[in-house]
């Protein structure tokens, strides 16, 4: 660690992983409710479990992005963080608001929560992913502003590297587009139209800048490749992301009211959205191939490569299969959507957060060249268990979705009803649930890897000598 203040990232990362664990437990509960319809009813209705699952996802990713920023921005800027104290205070504010909101979902009926938090004053609740009470949303804005102020001041004081500038642009975009969550008119069509300005412009817009910046940072660190090369790639990737993704939002405007030209615009522009994700794969592999030194933290490199590949599969390939309007007409809002949502969120955003954690946590714990080989071995196992099981979940949901379309959507006469179709899909939902259990075991292994023995003296000596050797040929991490 170059600067003392980088260590404020640590609680953010730890808390993110705790929420991630909660997210998966609720996912497994919902997976069972898909099979045994009345499982845990009426104590935990499906909609409550779903809010907890998706909101925990968003909140832990935000914790991850914040931790990543607190870690990498000072190092890039070459100065201490503007205010470590503010970062620590905001951690507790955000954590408390998050926990209180989740407890609100679990402990009182949603309508009661809406009443208690005076949703009628500024109604923003009850829309997918934006279920948080209005007061929580305001809290999120406050935390985001304090965070961006802190990061922004740090950037201003120090070197304005491309990574820092791209990252902060993405973070500001994240905060700005979140403001659309406060716009909820009586007209459902307008509500939906601008709902996507939060959801789509996040995951297929500004979050891609954050993703690219974090990935570029880790790649510089673990490969030592010249910054100029990495920065050029980063610019091209995010340029393609914005060029395709902004108008690509049209792929959500096919069937919710907007006019017909969106069928064309959405199809054409979103069809090129996979390109930046494909470039990320080329970028990551090329940088690792051209690496100038062998970093002791090999698992961090694996996470970086894995993020690029899985993001391409989830967002690029699984996004493409249902993004053209004539296909989407049949797959819209089916299990295909769920398949894509899972692989894309996991492959791009969950994995990039685990990537920076895997790189930064050992350093914050004084293990400059990564964890002990035993710990890395367990983490590698966890990496593969999570990736393979998530692919399993995705394939199962894809089969379920295709079958659903065949039974319920394609037939002009004699189509099965929604509920009867779901009954037929139960065997596939079992497969999904089994892969979900494997995913959970992979996550447990991942968490366990943090507790596997520290660096032994012998290892440390060996590492020190390799470190010296690496420095002699210039490890590249100092520029």
């Amino acid at each position: 660690m170059k600067f003392e203040s980088q260590s404020v990232a640590k609680p953010y990362f730890i808390f993110a992983l705790a929420l991630f664990t909660g997210q998966i437990l609720f996912g497994l509960i919902m997976g069972l409710q898909y099979i045994i319809g009345d499982f845990l009813f009426p104590y935990l209705p499906f909609n409550v479990a779903r809010m907890v699952h998706t909101n925990l996802l968003i909140v832990w990713l935000l914790f991850g992005f914040m931790g990543a920023s607190y870690y990498l921005v000072p190092e890039e800027a070459g100065v201490e963080l503007h205010s470590p104290r503010l970062a620590r205070i905001m951690f507790w504010v955000f954590a408390a608001a998050g926990v209180a909101t989740i407890l609100g979902y679990l402990l009182v009926p949603y309508a009661e929560l809406a009443r208690l938090t005076h949703n009628e004053l500024l109604p923003t609740m009850g829309r997918e992913f934006l279920e948080q009470p209005t007061i929580t949303k305001i809290g999120i804005v406050v935390v985001a502003l304090a965070f961006i102020y802190n990061i922004g001041m740090t950037v201003l004081k120090g070197r304005k590297t491309v990574i820092n500038m791209v990252l902060i642009t993405g973070l500001i975009g994240l905060a700005v587009f979140f403001l659309f969550s406060f716009y909820n008119p009586e007209n459902l069509v307008l509500d939906k139209f601008f709902w996507w300005w939060v959801v789509h412009l996040w995951v297929e817009g500004v979050w891609e800048l954050i993703l690219g910046a974090i990935l570029a940072f880790v790649l510089i660190k673990v490969t030592g490749v010249d910054r100029e090369v990495i920065e050029k790639w980063l610019y091209v990737i995010i340029a393609m992301a914005l060029i395709s993704g902004l108008i690509g939002m049209g792929h959500h405007y096919y069937w919710i009211g907007p006019g017909e030209y969106w069928l064309w615009l959405g199809s054409i522009f979103s069809a090129i959205e996979p390109i930046p994700f494909f470039m990320m794969v080329m970028f990551a592999f090329r940088m690792v191939r051209q690496r100038r030194h062998q970093h002791g933290n090999q698992i961090a490199t694996l996470w970086a490569l894995g993020t690029a590949v899985m993001a391409f599969l989830g967002a690029g390939v699984w996004g493409f299969i249902h993004t053209l309007a004539p296909v989407n007409y049949y797959t819209h809002g089916s299990q295909i959507t769920a398949a894509h949502g899972h692989l894309a969120f996991f492959g791009a955003y969950a994995m990039v957060v685990m990537c920076i954690i895997s790189y930064a946590m050992p350093i914050m714990r004084g293990r400059l060249q990564g964890n002990s080989p035993q710990a890395q071995k367990l983490e590698t196992f966890a990496f593969w268990a999570m990736c393979i099981s998530m692919l399993g979940i995705t394939l199962a949901l894809t089969v379920a979705g295709a079958w659903q379309v065949a039974l319920q959507r394609l037939p002009e006469v004699g189509a099965l009803s929604f509920m009867n179709t779901q009954d037929k899909l139960i065997p596939i939902f079992w497969v999904r649930e089994l892969f979900g259990v494997v995913f959970f075991l992979g996550l447990v292994a991942y968490l366990a890897s943090f507790f596997v023995g520290g660096v032994k003296v012998a290892d440390r000596q060996q590492q020190e000598s390799t470190e010296k050797a690496a420095e002699a040929v210039c490890c590249g991490s100092c520029n």
Binding site: A114, G126, E128, V189, K192, E228, G257, G259, R409
Partner: protein
């Protein structure tokens, strides 16, 4: 990447492309906002429809159902539920909805459950009006058939 393609060029594509396509998006948004009144029939958003939307949100119906294909995939699509159960008559559909909401949760063991929301008759009527209005939005003929 080739040496001739410099970082400065890449940066310009990023700034130029980002700004251009964002402005294009804003322009298209204005055009869509201009066109929408003919497609969403907002003149039919009565107070009852508006109250129905608030009830839809405050009971988190979207946590199980989809509406115009968006939301959750645990329970049936509801943007066309009027077409499915109303037999073309608003009155029939109102009767159906009162009965349906009162009946929940259904006792069949192992079946997916819809909670009892304890809504008043007026509230159910508002929700029903909201769903009827929604079913009449011009959504380019989605879904493909009445099963949603």
């Amino acid at each position: 990447m080739a040496e001739m393609f410099t970082k400065g060029m890449a940066r310009n594509i990023y700034y130029g492309g980002g700004v251009f396509f964002f402005l294009l998006l804003v322009g298209l948004t204005f055009d869509t906002l201009r066109e929408l009144p003919q497609r969403d029939h907002r003149e039919n958003i009565t107070e009852s429809v508006a109250r129905g939307k608030a009830l839809w949100e405050e009971n988190n119906c979207i946590g199980c159902h989809s509406l115009m294909g968006e939301g959750a995939y645990f329970a049936p699509e509801l943007a066309n539920v009027f077409d499915r159960y109303g037999q073309g008559s608003e009155e029939n559909f109102h009767q159906f909805m009162q009965a349906w909401m009162a009946m929940q949760p259904m006792p069949t063991e192992g079946r997916r459950k819809m909670p009892q929301f304890h809504l008043s008759q007026q509230q159910v009527a508002d929700l029903t009006d909201f769903l009827i209005w929604t079913s009449r939005v011009n959504d380019n003929d989605w879904p493909p058939n009445r099963e949603g």
